[in-house]
Subunit: 501 residues, 2 copies
């Protein structure tokens, strides 16, 4: 007989009831054919005696096994392991306790474009970011209070179930009115799809606009995450040069004459990564080209709120009279990245189709968070928050640029950005970012993914360095780290030189 | 001279400062060439007199126009509209106030598979759902309290910035331990990607597993949203029959011998839509086939928690020793759909790639909500909630089945489901759902998307009717609506019959 007495381990102090522990262990033994098909199990009385458990426990266990389909109970004869159960094949060489779930036993596609580099995020290190907000300024308590107040309201219950893929009707209405007022747009809520942030907007636009072999045009330097997103859909990403007035629309026009362009992606307010603003002249030119050649302009307005020298420049979408612009933005940069609320705005038919696609990606957004932010915007809290942070970020930009100019002008050159959260910093010859990033590690300075800025290998030798996330003390620390890094590099170089002499 | 005096509308009680109102209106006039390129603008003194505003306002406006690139200021000569500005072309026939943003002026793809039917969601109507939870049972206050307490903690600030695409490390750890304990799995947190819910899991798995022309196998009745998701990737969705023991794995084996299968999608716990459970025998058979033919099993365990007759049946993933199973689930059904937290679990290499794809869809999840639910699970609140709702849903299932049997047995037949939130209800001949759904409208009964259950047109004549979301009173109301509907149909039929006689 099977060694029932020694084959089970039952623990009385577990959450799992005894009968379930017993049946689960039975299943393992049956699966592996240690108790083979057609085996007659001991009677409940004898097994309960063998194991020293109550007979009811064994009866419950056998019931469970029967309901789950592992055994048959034949009246007046007893309980039998099902006859037809196949054995669960195991690879012989596997050790009992080896981790079995490292590698898939099936094929799946891997995209080499996806960045796999892990960036050091050790808190004792100084990190160079590409322009992110300072989350310490987030009005978290206000938001949490609004959230909780909302949860206390009776009618909130309705919002807990499945809802519109478009997002909360309230937030769409509030956003339409807010964006129309602050950005000169003329949309209604029906033009708005609430997304999880700009990235989802780019993803959805890319999915709808690009089929294999379709052409999308971007700047010769471009926001890398957008590049990767487009590359998932098409191999034909064409690049036009970018100068101090943004992407060169004359070059785009030449392209349009020769090829059929499906879409143009622009970060018109502050070009990513170089931070320049698309000039008024080129804005109009771009819009006219879109109308004539019937392509979509995907306008990613990722940092509209942060302008230090003048009022924000109205987006292309505010001049779009023919339905050529798909306007993408989010509050992630303005409030905090953790609040994943963004929007995709455009012609109604496009937005409707985008919401259908979104349904099969992510069903719907977080209605509670969306309602919280509808409140946050409507009450004027968002505006007050922007005003406050704008002032802080402007001071940080000034301090950052001053410090970099004073302390690091031998190594870096840059223009003072008119807005945004980062400076486009060019490394002077003969330095290379590769060397700088390596030496920097000694001084606990992490340069992050500096390689990503020169996708088309033009050798511009610049990267973005964010200033908004750092207070003055932290900016000084950053400068100090860079200084030490360059001093060490210079020392090495000069010692090599003197050695060569 | 241009009629400056009558061309501007300045309102002192707006949020927008006067100088910005003025410059925005200037931009409109310049864009449309109403003030043509090279026009000399009036001096600030004369314009301020013309408009009755302070001279400083005009100076600020001209500065703004210059900074934005619309005008040039030439020392000692004055302010001129830029020479090179192209005119923004407008279609002549457009009325001033027509809505311009209904139709895109570019092409984009539309997927005919995406359901476009709008379902009546009027609250005075009785809605048939396909098995959703009752959001009135959501422990919303507890969750909101946890959320707010979390926001009050200082170290929460770190979680506000960009984070891991995999999701909160804390939640991954808590989930691994919770799922291992409750579902017999053997995963570590590195096998877990936090998603926005099951749908995102299906989307990501589909994206990674299926290239054009790859074969995925599903049940002959199948969860429609999964079908649509797969159809976005491949045209080759093959179907095997489903009986009372779930999908027929013998048929699958025949398929495997003839064709290369990339993946099999199963809702093994309760087959969607028919609610049957995959038998133990077929579970082992399916796993053995996956090993032998090296395909992925995408196991969508959407309502594991809801079993009324016996303990939940352990998922296929709990028997997966070779890395063949991709396990998908969520708390959306268990707690409330608004809390968009789910998981995709599988071999490490697969999960890593899935997180890379997810980055370009949605960057990352909501760390605050993820931490909230880590707390909710760890504290035992989730278990308590499940216990409580399980009892309620069981009572509702029993009441629903009793009522339907008593009152509607002339029209419907069904088996009592062992778990889940819905009954698979077959309409008796000669009735058709089309007629029923139309007549039902008279009695304010909305049958929803009943067409979607018979995708491969087998004529099974059944739909899912959810019971979990309705209390006894509401179930009675539902029964009453159906009764009236059938009475009217019968009356019509008999009057036709008597007319024919």
């Amino acid at each position: 007989m099977f060694p029932y007495k020694t084959s089970f381990q039952l623990l009385r102090n577990l959450n799992t009831p005894l009968y379930l522990q017993l049946s689960n262990q039975f299943i393992e033994l049956i699966k592996s054919h240690k108790i083979p098909p057609e085996t007659k199990l001991p009677s409940s009385r004898s097994l309960s005696e063998l194991l020293g458990v109550h007979r009811k426990t064994v009866v419950a266990c056998y019931d469970e096994l029967m309901l789950q389909g592992w055994v048959d109970s034949i009246p007046k004869k007893g309980t039998y392991v099902k006859a037809s159960l196949p054995i669960l094949t195991q690879q012989e060489f596997l050790e009992e306790d080896s981790v079995l779930s490292n590698e898939a036993n099936f094929k799946f596609s891997k995209n080499e474009n996806f960045n796999k580099k892990r960036v050091n995020t050790d808190e004792s290190w100084v990190l160079v970011d590409d322009g992110i907000s300072d989350v310490r300024l987030t009005p978290l308590k206000d938001i949490a209070r609004t959230y909780r107040r909302l949860c206390d309201r009776k009618r909130t219950i309705k919002s807990l179930s499945y809802g519109e893929t478009f997002g909360s009707g309230k937030l769409r209405k509030v956003l339409a009115s807010y964006l129309n007022k602050t950005r000169g747009l003329q949309y209604t809520e029906e033009n708005i799809l609430i997304t999880r942030g700009s990235q989802m907007g780019i993803f959805l636009a890319s999915k709808l606009l690009l089929e294999k072999d379709d052409i999308i045009v971007v700047g010769e330097t471009n926001y890398i995450a957008a590049d990767v997103t487009f590359s998932e859909r098409t191999d034909r990403i064409l690049r036009v040069p970018v100068d101090e007035d943004g992407i060169k629309t004359d070059d785009l026009e030449q392209l349009c004459k020769r090829k059929q362009i499906k879409a143009v992606y622009v970060t018109s307010h502050h070009h990513h990564p170089t931070t320049v603003t698309l000039s008024a002249e080129r804005r109009i030119h771009l819009l006219n080209l879109a109308k004539e050649y019937r392509f979509a302009i995907v306008e990613d307005d990722y940092d509209y709120d942060f302008n230090y020298n003048h009022a924000p420049i109205l987006p292309l979408a505010s001049h779009d009279t023919q339905g050529n612009v798909v306007y993408i933005g989010s509050i992630c940069k303005t409030v905090a990245p953790v609040f994943r609320i963004g929007y995709l705005i455009g012609p109604k038919d496009f937005v409707e189709e985008a919401s259908r696609v979104r349904r099969y990606v992510d069903r719907q957004g977080d209605a509670l968070l969306e309602l919280t932010f509808a409140d946050f915007i409507e009450s004027g809290d968002l505006d007050r928050h922007i005003k406050k942070t704008l002032k802080t970020y402007q001071q940080r930009r000034d301090f950052f640029c001053e410090q970099f100019q004073q302390e690091l002008c031998d190594y870096f050159e840059f223009d003072i950005p008119k807005g945004g959260m980062a400076v486009w910093v060019k490394l002077k010859s003969p330095y290379t970012w590769k060397e700088v990033s390596e030496v920097a590690k000694k001084y606990k300075l992490e340069l992050g993914e500096w390689q990503r800025y020169d996708v088309s290998r033009t050798g511009h030798n610049a990267i973005r360095i964010g200033f908004a996330s750092k207070n003055e003390e932290e900016i000084e620390e950053l400068v100090m780290c860079f200084k030490k890094t360059f001093q060490e590099i210079s020392l090495k170089t000069s010692s090599v030189k003197s050695f060569v002499r």
